[in-house]
Symmetry: C2
Subunit: 252 residues, 2 copies
């Protein structure tokens, strides 16, 4: 049975999509069969993998339209990596989902039939604790939390962890935090080290050893529609995501 990882943090711009794409790609390049589900109406994970033509089916058709998820799965530029693409229409789900029965379980139910077809499923969540993100957390076995090395990102961690506890109590007792990954670490600033030290001291077991450095190549890669290992495999960003993927597998 495939392991389902949600990548979530309500703080915006902390590296969720970048972490989701590049960790999923590293696992696929190592031979695992991986499905990436883009649960963000911004479609960043979809575009970051170079998919710009509107595929015939998308995650909104699955969530709102009841289409089987298999019908929305497409291949990607990376062998063994498949994608359920997003669409801007998904923003409509934020107002439609609250009206539905079992509104927190829609994604989890949709994925049930296919999770054994993959070794890993990765869900890229939008920057909020709304129903789309709740659906991602309810559908997941594990949660990876990117934490930007900035003050606001540190501050939001408490709110996220109490939401996770509420989800474990009410909807998904299996959900485990796989780890916290520090992102956009800038060695030139004190702030970065202060935030890393604070997170590590509060959550020594949960914080991954791998720290993702701020690296311009990581922010250039999406404009070429490529994961970092295909845009610049020798850069520090690529090395860091390879190390992170290794740690994710080790921790299982």
């Amino acid at each position: 049975l495939g392991k389902t990882y949600a990548v979530a943090n309500q703080k915006g711009g902390v590296g969720k999509t970048t972490t989701c794409i590049n960790t999923a790609v590293c696992l696929a390049e190592a031979g695992a069969t991986v499905l990436l589900i883009d649960l963000d109406p911004q479609c960043n994970a979809t575009h970051g993998l170079g998919i710009h033509d509107n595929p015939p089916r998308n995650v909104y058709d699955v969530i709102a339209g009841g289409a089987p998820v298999e019908s929305a799965i497409i291949g990607s530029q990376v062998p063994h990596l498949f994608l359920v693409p997003s669409t801007p229409d998904l923003a409509g789900a934020e107002v439609e989902l609250p009206l539905r029965d079992n509104r927190e379980f829609v994604v989890s139910q949709a994925l049930q039939g296919i999770s054994s077809d993959f070794d890993y499923l990765f869900i890229d969540c939008p920057p909020s604790l709304s129903l789309l993100t709740l659906n991602g957390l309810v559908a997941a076995d594990k949660l990876i939390i990117p934490v930007q090395c900035e003050y606001y990102a540190l501050e939001g961690l408490g709110q996220l962890l109490s939401t996770v506890a509420a989800i474990q109590d009410n909807f998904n007792p299996n959900l485990r935090i796989a780890g916290l990954v520090m992102t956009m670490f800038d060695a030139r600033t004190n702030l970065s080290s202060q935030v890393v030290n604070q997170v590590r001291s509060h959550f020594p077991e949960l914080t991954y050893k791998t720290v993702i450095p701020r690296n311009i190549r990581l922010s250039e890669a999406p404009s070429h529609g490529k994961p970092i290992s295909r845009y610049d495999p020798t850069c520090a960003g690529s090395d860091a995501y390879f190390d992170l993927a290794t740690e994710v597998v080790e921790r299982e």
Copy 2:
């Protein structure tokens, strides 16, 4: 009658809160009476102004509880600057608002009685196009859009502008885009200049001349609970927000 500005962009981490706080503070320091409304359950604008004790009333009491907005207004460390603080409970509004009549007008109706008490009202929106942000856009006369100098932020602009057009057609015909402000510009990278050039060429009239540089002092200031003009008034970040506030007033 006070002018109401929403600061919004569904892309996360682009500098909405930083722009909202520092522009509002500059205007207050110039003698205007300003109200900042924190419409984000993350409470970053509230904490960025150094308010960490849970005030007796907050924006959720106004939106969900029907409390008059006057009862939730508190002073700040800056003379002439007042705040309607946020609370993590506001995340509940994302699922409660869809069930209400006139769900897009809740904030606009709440602000009607007091907008003439202020010269400016600034609304800090969360990173989404959900009902909280829609409420902010419906309540506003003008919209300031921070655009991070990165590819994903550039890409999201089209989706935001078509949402704004839909809001103008259906809910708030008065809404005007005040301007696009480029943020976190890093002069050392080509990506930053490419994004600025693209935005300026597509939206020459709408893009503010002022570009906010990436400046570590801006990301340190929130951990001290201070706006940039009180944390480091001589830094490039502080100068840039002073220039931006000047341009905002000039464009009126």
